[in-house]
Subunit: 483 residues, 4 copies
């Protein structure tokens, strides 16, 4: 699949004990963010602060390219970082994170945002009514400004005031510096999630009393932090010299709505979200898929995944169906930066540069191919073609999620409906388009059971059924082609 | 495992039909070499020629870095390329390939070499006796010089004369340019393998009559070439305007001795060598391992591979033993260029940056961990440690090859015996050193059966038993620390 | 000469009219700073702000390398920039500018500093007594902190309070952002000079009402700004929405002490400082030198400058003495980044890579060679050697400044006395050391007259006579070898 | 002025004594070429050989960028190098030098070419008639091929045969490798100049018996070589193990025709060509100019050069006229790579980024401004504008060469007549166009006397009078816009 979520976030605040011993906030942030690289490969930024001074370094590309030997040089005790999928051309301030603003009445605030707001028109009007004139602005910048203009007199008040004014999806890592006196440059690290809890965010701790916030638990592992818990929907966690405390956003009661695509596709398989490991959720999807399409048992000789996201589901499918599992497509691990291949190199499709069929596991076989989802259908068609060219006698495509029929307004790159093949084609037409012998989607109930939410109380599945947990009237207009 | 073979080679010669239509020899060579990137990440080079002119581009690092937008610009009809593991500091001419020499009596020859020669002292003396004084020289350069000084008057004669003077391991891709008149710059592409056939080399064809040579068949797939056959041990294949022909090296009868480590570790799983697919050979090794250690069936709950080379063997082990297979270690796909991480980033071991345990598949479980081999033992020890820290109650390490007790003199980076843990420790001491509960190596007969050579007629297994197919007295002295 | 001053500073604040029309603060700052590149080639930084948000970009090397296509992307109305001579290894926060701090009670302050403070121990104690614990800190950072901790409630108050606490040499460009409300992110640009006025700083204006501050007037020319006036010693100029105003630092009466080396060597010849053009001051030095050593008239055939700083003085010398002027040393304009020459390039001295004698103007001639100063003497010795090798029959070295006998504590890289050849050798020994036939220094009275300060009321000449305008007891200890 | 000649060439051949002691051919070549950087800033290449092996490294941009740490790594005893003005988009093989070809009957030849051939159609036909089919080819490549196809059996024969077939302008550095036996890889370094001697080429020697060839003598100085003599028009100098020998091209008698623009503009002032130093020739042009326009003596207050090429002429003008010389335009020495300024930097004209008027030397003055030539007139107009804006009361432009009325077909970038302002405008119209009060060109007789050729026996002045020394009918067609 080729959905693109826009980012991963990470935050670190050293305990006083650690800070006295070593000055490695930037390095810790780099290491943690590196474990989130799969959430964004187009740009990266790290901001380090000691509450008084600020140092920011940002760059384009993978982290190794964006930073080379240039991490921020400030020896601060707090660092936040961001990786994002898209640079939007690189010229607009609004799209580079972390971003920073001065707070009236003291200090500054730095922000890294994963998600997408849905009341941007309202926010714009609100900011304008206070005398702020923005020509162009991103939703992340608006949220930052709402905190900066808050008349609250405490850090907590400003954070809450800002968050309570916005709607939509956000998992945030913030850092607030107070200025030098009377707090001698004290700095807070803040993690916050919207009341629906669309995007993940978890909290971890190091044995020396330092705290970590990250989009996924695999980043806690990367820096040797123990998982403490997920930040709750509608919660802001504040970490400062006084320790850690939890604030609750005031908001009308809302349904929890965690993006089920984190389990299906985005998150790393070794991450744990809301108590459920991602790999195991995918394995369950595969088992369920096999159970729902029991007839495939007698129709197929081998189950092969589209690597890497299809692996766990394919293993589950094999376990449930008894059909042997095998690797059928080998991934060239050096692709991923093909955009800088010398121009003269033969122009091959990315799919073909990336995946090569393992003929011996496919030839003359009836193949069940497992992928996580179908968006436009073009990638699936190419892969089915590869399998057939390698000699597969039949290709049965099984998808570990339902048809995507509706755009996402909460941070995933599918906001144009006409690009969703399942939104305008029947299942049989899709099958023909991609060239498979049969096509099977996991049912929505099957998916929800696989992620431990059989009643659909906690998940956002709007891309499958069109029921959006928030008012999306301000954002559901056709977007510009950049999106 | 961390064995390092020194290179991958690729060659392309456009048919006249293709050359008339498009001038993409450099691009084809780049694409093919890119599929061989796993055989060498430290430097890369491409040489393009039309038989008269020559253009060479070389660089350090991965191919994307080595070439950036600088492929050779010559519109030749023939290109050869090379990727290598080690740069040896980058300053010595001898270590940069392809390398080129003028041939007395007409034209030039370019060479890309995979392997290691074993009669270098003899060669040096021979060249010196002809009046060539070399201060320092690599074995590849010596071989090139032996061709260049040949008094043979034909391309075929020069190639054979050069090859027949060398001993050891070589799979070569050569290009010979004749100069302009009377041949108007005709160019030959040559592939050659030593009589033992230590290293792989295969031949492919495009539908337009163009030919391809590559270390592995996956590179043929990458450029859309059909596999024709392996180049035979002791054969030189010559492709020129007249078509393709095969020459036989004159040599005393020798045993075939294909490096079994190509199956165990080096080659890409989608490659086919000598009619045997690499993935399937590994699957068989895993099955055989399970059969040999039948007692593990009742002792373990889960089989996990060390990715990526252990995957096929672990699947085989699971199939044979009935113990469920699961992913237990998730690989960060963005590592591999960690050497350019900003200096200030936390200094973590490469193993820990690269692999994160998938706790939910390991916790409280008796784990069979499958790796392809053990060299120094340090990596294995770290991985066992990761599994235990993730909650594995027992770790049974199964290795899909026998203990490595002897150095390799044919192109693999294990030429210092004291770095081979199995050469100086008992199996039980190795087990203790790496911290596993039990340790099981595949037997040599088991390995040979897995690769379809039960009698050991075709494989080189000298690193397991010390029986070297060639005289290694000239090279078995302790080498410098660089090796 | 090879003295190195540590930096050049530049600031720009767009008028509302300009800001409405174009968003080019970063570009203007780049262009202005580019004209100051001669004041620092080792690193560069630009900070852009709109009073609320901040964006900083810094890098090593020449500006073209430090910024490549990465100017700060914020569309702010105010920008400040800095070029510096030395990076000190690049790892310490203290050495990268502009630097930024949050101000208690509102907003932030950014600072770019040219000069060197002399009461750093006192400042450290003062900051520590207020509860600030700094392990390592630069003088620039201390100054920034003194402003940030100020309890003054206005921008003016904070600036003055900070400046009045420091002693030594500083020409500063500052930007102060107030935060969003009630000022809607208003931003001030501030220029300030210490009461002695050691370093230059001037003010310019664009026709659209925008203001510019720069180390030298040549940077005003570069951005099309008209010169308004020099910032006065002991003055802070504040530019904000209300226009421009001038503050006076409260301080005990002090002597003006402008660094005379700005005229001798540092400043670009097209700059005007305190009403005196730099080129013309050098021309006068040359005339005076000729007058002081009248006997040379009959002893020499040609006057040649050491380019580029010696040109104006050599022309003056020629005018006064009547000895013809000629170019005798041609400078390779592509040197200056020799530190990145490929390692294998022949190791030649920088002097020889940079200067080639013009033999035809030297051969058989009695040469008067004009240089601006002698520091260690090694460069002079090499140049005299070049002239002799080119056939000069006699070399009379004339220096357009007196012997440097004392270290500088105000921002010039001569703070180790033992590196000053004139501090430990007699004039005749120096002459012998550099191999000249005769050696003539401009007298101190001659220098002072040349810069229009015959009574020495306005210039700092401490490096020539050891009379320091400020107490230097805190800084006159031997410094580390890095200096 | 903005004429652009296409290149500089350099060659080095180590004596056996030197080669035994050190392996620095690439480094020597780099150092020498670096002194020729003014002849080409767009790309650079170095080829190193030992007669058998070849290593080539090429790149775009200034030498520091083109080579970074990648000089050719071959320890050969011979190296040739090339810098060129234009890359022509970088994609065409034909435009990258040195270029190399295999010679039928032994070895290879490498070529670096300064100049432009005029019988390219004839050459193409000749090559085609021998069976060579070239789709696209440069004149340099044709010349290389003519040598490669030669049926001569000796190096000397091939070189002469190739050279005698071409017409037009060439100063060449060649290297010929013979292959290994029987010559054990002997290598020749060859320098050759066309019979007219359009472009310069000189020969130098090191004390250890090594030889050097270079476009200009300043490059000999750079590597510590003594000037031996200019290579003669119609001569090829061959340096090999046997020492140095001279060959004469057979050709009909032709007039010598050295490009007078080398003296006027291209060459570095410290170079000596045909016994005449470039700086002194320019000084004479300035004196002559003053003599020819005697009336200016009373009309002007100051003489200012357009740096750097106008300096020597301006000094000569001042000497002759008695009008004081002063610097009036200060050059920013860091421009020259402005093409990589960050995009957002204010778009200023190159002239304005590069030159800043020195107001104090211009204000209220009647200024004689000396430039070397006028091509399109746009640069002159901008400079006159700068002088007036700086307060010059009158600007009298004096040009140290006659009006350029005809295109050059011998290697200078003025081959489109309509771009030559003097070819379609009267002198008075040109004056008006550039905005000067008066405009004075040096007369052709004046120029010829200044370069020591009063009768015009040795110089090519075709751009001033349209008398071309060779038949240009094959090349005088309008060229493509790339030129």
């Amino acid at each position: 699949m080729n959905l693109h979520e826009k980012c991963g976030v990470f935050g670190f605040r050293a305990s006083e004990k650690r800070f006295t011993a070593q000055r490695d906030a930037a390095g810790i942030c780099y290491t943690g963010l590196f474990a989130l690289q799969h959430r964004g490969q187009e740009s990266a930024g790290i901001m380090v602060t000691d509450g008084l001074h600020v140092d920011i370094e940002k760059g384009a590309g993978l982290m190794v390219d964006a930073f080379r030997a240039r991490l921020p040089s400030l020896n601060g005790n707090c660092a936040i970082g961001h990786v994002r999928y898209s640079t939007f051309g690189g010229s607009s301030f609004a799209n580079i994170q972390p971003m920073m603003a001065a707070i009236r009445g003291g200090g500054f605030i730095g922000l890294a945002h994963n998600g997408s707001l849905t009341n941007t028109d309202t926010l714009r009007r609100s900011l304008e009514s206070r005398g702020c004139l923005f020509q162009s602005t991103s939703d992340s910048e608006m949220m930052l400004n709402m905190m900066a203009v808050s008349t609250a007199t405490t850090v907590d008040g400003k954070i809450l005031s800002g968050l309570e004014s916005v709607e939509g999806a956000y998992s945030l890592v913030l850092t607030v510096g107070t200025g030098l006196l009377p707090d001698h440059g004290s700095v807070s690290l803040v993690g916050a999630r919207d009341p629906h809890g669309f995007r993940p965010l978890c909290l971890g701790g190091l044995s020396d009393g330092s705290y970590v916030l990250a989009s996924e638990s695999c980043a806690l592992d990367a820096v040797g932090a123990a998982f403490i818990r997920d930040v709750e929907p509608g919660e802001a966690v504040i970490i400062d010299d006084a320790g850690i405390r939890s604030l609750r956003l005031r908001h009308r009661p809302v349904k929890r709505a965690f993006c089920v695509f984190e389990y299906i596709y985005f998150a790393r398989p070794d991450s744990v979200i809301d108590g459920l490991n991602v790999w195991q959720s995918r394995h369950r999807m595969g088992r369920r898929l096999a159970a729902e399409f029991d007839e495939l048992k007698v129709q197929a000789d081998v189950v092969v995944p589209v690597p890497d996201t299809g692996i766990a589901a394919a293993l589950g499918f094999s376990t449930e169906s008894g059909i042997p599992y095998a690797e059928g497509l080998i991934k060239n691990r050096y692709v991923g930066r093909t955009f800088i291949l010398p121009e003269q190199a033969a122009r091959k499709s990315t799919v073909e540069m990336k995946l090569n069929p393992l003929r011996e596991n496919l030839k003359g076989k009836r193949v069940v191919m497992i992928d996580d989802s179908i968006v436009r259908g073009t990638t699936s068609a190419r892969i089915v073609g590869l399998l057939r060219a390698a000699g597969a006698s039949e290709v049965h495509m099984c998808v570990s999620s339902p048809p995507i029929t509706h755009p996402c307004y909460y941070g995933i790159d599918t906001s144009i409906r006409k690009e969703l093949i399942a939104s305008y084609m029947s299942e049989n037409d899709v099958r023909q388009e991609i060239g498979a012998d049969t096509l099977h989607y996991l049912t929505l109930p099957g998916l929800l059971e696989s992620v431990g939410d059989p009643e659909g109380q906690r998940m956002c599945v709007s891309c499958f059924n069109g029921y959006y947990p928030t008012d999306v009237s301000e954002v559901s207009e056709p977007k510009r082609s950049l999106f």
